[in-house]
Symmetry: C2
Subunit: 274 residues, 2 copies
């Protein structure tokens, strides 16, 4: 971890720390901004090692720990793991070795899906690592073991989203393939189990049709953060958004900024870990 003093001036409020492997977690930031308009948010994107979705539990946990240490050193009052892969693979062990409260995107999404389903058939889409961990299936069945969960890994969606191909013919073709088996099984609820996916919500909704409720993990995570924050000492209003990236990242930051209508107050590149 990086021990040099923070680059931010001292009067800034302790932030809500948010991190993701890359820029996808900005969908969570956009929802946090809506739910908690006066909070300072410090976002870290681990762009030097993006993506996490095809990597092992051990490696993802090591990376997530380094970023959490950085956020703690920046006085984060709580840490939001705005990455489904890190939430699925690393959150339990991270929580146990950080004193700051941590919250992931997985539990809020799972509990919203349980509330939404009528047929008891829930679909989940995510990265290869998230789906292989069966973390959503476990979290959903821990609430109601009668529910039927079908999960499909969609490894090409993140690259397509990072290219800005939100409504492209190619994205539609691949989404159609990924979703067909779940739709054939009659799901009535679909969990968008990757923080990039809300950027494809329109196309996913079109393919799924009116009979399927989309559960956006970003939105549900923001509501859970608001509840958790209400239990912590309040801090001075400071509605800034500061961004730290572990490598210079062209392109997608601007795509996300524009399509999420975010206003970024500072952007710094800082090396973390190896």
């Amino acid at each position: 971890m990086n021990h040099r003093p923070s680059a931010f001036a001292t009067p800034l409020s302790p932030p809500i720390g948010v991190f993701d492997s890359g820029i996808g977690g900005l969908t969570v930031v956009a929802e946090l901004r809506r739910a908690l308009p006066s909070e300072r948010i410090l976002y870290v994107g681990d762009t030097a090692r993006v993506p996490y979705g095809g990597k092992s539990r051990e490696t993802v946990t090591r990376y997530a720990r380094e970023i959490s240490d950085l956020l703690e050193s920046e006085r984060a009052k709580l840490i939001v793991v705005a990455c489904n892969t890190a939430s699925a693979l690393a959150l339990p062990s991270l929580s146990s070795d950080h004193s700051v409260p941590m919250i992931g995107v997985l539990e809020p999404g799972a509990s919203a899906a349980v509330k939404a389903t009528r047929s008891g058939k829930i679909g989940v889409i995510g990265t290869r690592a998230t789906i292989a961990s069966d973390a959503y299936g476990k979290a959903i069945r821990a609430i109601d073991q009668e529910l039927d969960v079908t999960a499909v890994a969609c490894p090409l969606l993140v690259p397509l989203i990072e290219e800005g191909l939100f409504e492209d013919e190619v994205t539609g073709t691949l989404l159609g393939r990924y979703l067909a088996p779940m739709l054939a099984e009659g799901i009535d609820t679909l969990v968008l189990g990757c923080t990039h996916y809300p950027l494809l919500k329109k196309t996913i909704a079109r393919i799924c049709g009116d009979g399927v409720t989309l559960v956006d993990s970003a939105e549900n995570c923001a509501l859970a953060v608001r509840e958790l924050l209400a239990t912590l000492p309040s801090t001075a209003p400071d509605p800034r958004l500061d961004i730290l990236l572990t490598d210079s990242s062209e392109g997608f930051l601007r795509i996300a900024e524009k399509s999420l209508e975010l206003s970024i107050d500072s952007l710094e590149i800082r090396r973390v870990g190896g």
Copy 2:
């Protein structure tokens, strides 16, 4: 760098060290195996930090240096940078701080393209970082400054290849888009400027038609290695292929092994850097 002793038994021959960000460099290994059937090859895939193609020069250079240090500690007699992004961004500075001879994929590909063209119009495809560096353009114009080079970044090809979608409709659609501007400009030679791309050779050839010569950087690199090796002291024949990955990697290693008809003697996962 990792200082623990090599896991390999001591009688093994000093290998040709080969590395890439991931598994794509195995296309170079397949060509080396054909060109130099009795050599031991030690391949390192930096799967913990794959891909390099969208990352900065500084970060790619740091990663490539750590992997080169590892190969040197494994007694590599020469190091092949089987990654176009690392060849374009890091090779000059790496060569200056390693005593073992190093060779990249870029110069052999550029010189083969210059030999192949008749019209003087050469196309180059590669990752975002390779194309942004203009490394192929510079290498080609250094040989003949009259040549006209058109380069296009193809950021979605690596994810498609890693999913094994070599002849998929989606791959064809995206390749058509990427190649159209170059074909309209009348190129007669196309450099496959990423070690993953030879796996798409058939589809690329179909889209380009008979009038365009494809320059495979893997093939040309293997020939350059054979020439360089002839200038070094010979070592005992030991036709092994040993593979080290920096993170456990599912799927694509098996896809590559099968489609490249490689026989792998050992596979080890070893942590490198941070």
